[in-house]
Symmetry: C2
Subunit: 334 residues, 2 copies
Amino acid sequence: MTDSRQPTLEEVARLAGVGRGTASRVVNGSEHVSPHTRDAVERAVRELGYVPNQAARALRTRRTDTVALVIAEDEERVFAEPFFAGLVRGISRAVDATSRRLVLSMVPDESHLDRLGQFLTPQHVDGVMVVSMHDALSLPESPDLPIVHVGRPRDAGACYVDVDNLGGARQAVDHIIGRGRQRIACITGPQDLASGRDRLEGYREALAAAGLPFEERLVEAGDFSDASGVRGTAALVERCPDLDAIFAANDVMALGAMRELARRGLRVPEDVAVVGFDGSPAAAASTPVLTTVHQPLAELGTTAVEVLAHRIDDPGAEVRSVVLPAELRAGESA
Amino acid sequence: MTDSRQPTLEEVARLAGVGRGTASRVVNGSEHVSPHTRDAVERAVRELGYVPNQAARALRTRRTDTVALVIAEDEERVFAEPFFAGLVRGISRAVDATSRRLVLSMVPDESHLDRLGQFLTPQHVDGVMVVSMHDALSLPESPDLPIVHVGRPRDAGACYVDVDNLGGARQAVDHIIGRGRQRIACITGPQDLASGRDRLEGYREALAAAGLPFEERLVEAGDFSDASGVRGTAALVERCPDLDAIFAANDVMALGAMRELARRGLRVPEDVAVVGFDGSPAAAASTPVLTTVHQPLAELGTTAVEVLAHRIDDPGAEVRSVVLPAELRAGESA
DNA sequence: TTGTAGGCGTTATCAG
DNA sequence: CTGATAACGCCTACAA
């Protein structure tokens, strides 16, 4: 009873009483086919459980209907950083809504770049999305292969989608200033990352715009990790006991900061207001007193997929990057 | 200068001054080719930067050199549960060492099963690894497609790799008994999961072997989440103030238990010993007083890949499942 | 050991 | 609107 072999287009055509070409047209949704014929073919397709042979199609069309998401990070961190969960979810969903498939590649270290380079060719994928936490790692780009970076890359000419890190950070700091805070500290993100740099810059700009001085002693270097949030807070509080607010470049650090403040008997937000730049909505939800700048990760993913699709379907088009606005979400305010 | 198109085997053959067939044999590492010719072809391959066209090869050989890892879980949980990080890492590494590629698919809900079913065919992949947290979800299996389950599935005849949940749990409880504890409580895992059931069974067996009674009131149902660890502990302590140990079916719950115990002024391990079944080595490391049964996730992944490769390369072979031993890691003891 | 040729399942072109 | 008919790039008998 089981034929074991998948049915071919030839068999569909035969069963429908049409030629192979016509069957192909129906399967590919061509306009130029009579309703009657279309119907017959579609019935045959269903009856036989026909599914197009991907290999044959790819061989013929030189398209793979596959896009890659390259995460230039070790699995460990990929799973640890809430940032990736949201992003992958968004991208995954968006690609699902497409006729394309998504393959996920993590690149733990440079030794894997060769293998990856062989894979990232028009022969295997139609396009690539790259999210890298380090500016450093540059992967072997195949010409003729559309690439969209998630997060602004070092290469200024490259196509990317990103959240408005600068504007978001400025909003965050504006907000605390508006609540009457004057001595606002900052725990930065890694400075080899555009997001890290931009969020620090936003902090500066907000201070400047309000006529507040930028003070080195109110700034601590962090790396987006919980530990660095704790460490930075400890250092800041010891150095400037009179600070009345902390802007952390992401929520993970902000939460670390809140724990450390609590440990020292300082109350949030009464004594010290805290605002973070959001990597995950969950963090904000779990601590209503935390005001955060919401980073729309899912939307970022969706956008990345859209932009990539656009570049794939219309190779001649101009390269357009997209920057999404970041949105302030005030918790119990300070 | 750039040819833009990838070179074909034909061109390699021409440059090497041999026939297409011979070039193919060299590329595929056939024995029957003279060292001289082989050398010429290899040089041509390098010079042209030839890389075999996957589609053409797949079309011809009916093999894809691709294996799928299906995680029957929402992205959210996949990234939240430390279990998956270790597993994916192990599998990823193991596949990398192969000539095959890995594609990762998460299945948030049943609505995605159709799409997945279309993908999980010999036409797209050579084999599949499935890790599911629920017994319920059964994916549409394509005949002729080797499947290896990670974690014992409901279907008893299926091929799987797993950790010795029962033995591990028994070891854990044995260990606390050996340290003189008498009233040992258990926070179980979800009972619709083999791992959950087996670990509870191990707990029973250890008690029985030691002549200790199994008491319902010493058992609380958990679901592997931190919250359920906290909740279960609270319930247990209130119900049985005299308990002197807790066995939690995973580390996440064990850590939750420890927090709850601390909150109630109970000391670990002086007042109450805690031992967990380990999803992630990190948990054990972060709390030296926690004794855990180590679940070798990376090795589990490696084994899954090996078993799958075996089944792919030797389709006639008997289906053999593998159960890995679990290893006790004693923290500062009770 | 090596070359030649047929065909894997599709799509695209080109007549009808 | 439809049906033949070439490729797409590769592997693998088969013949030399």
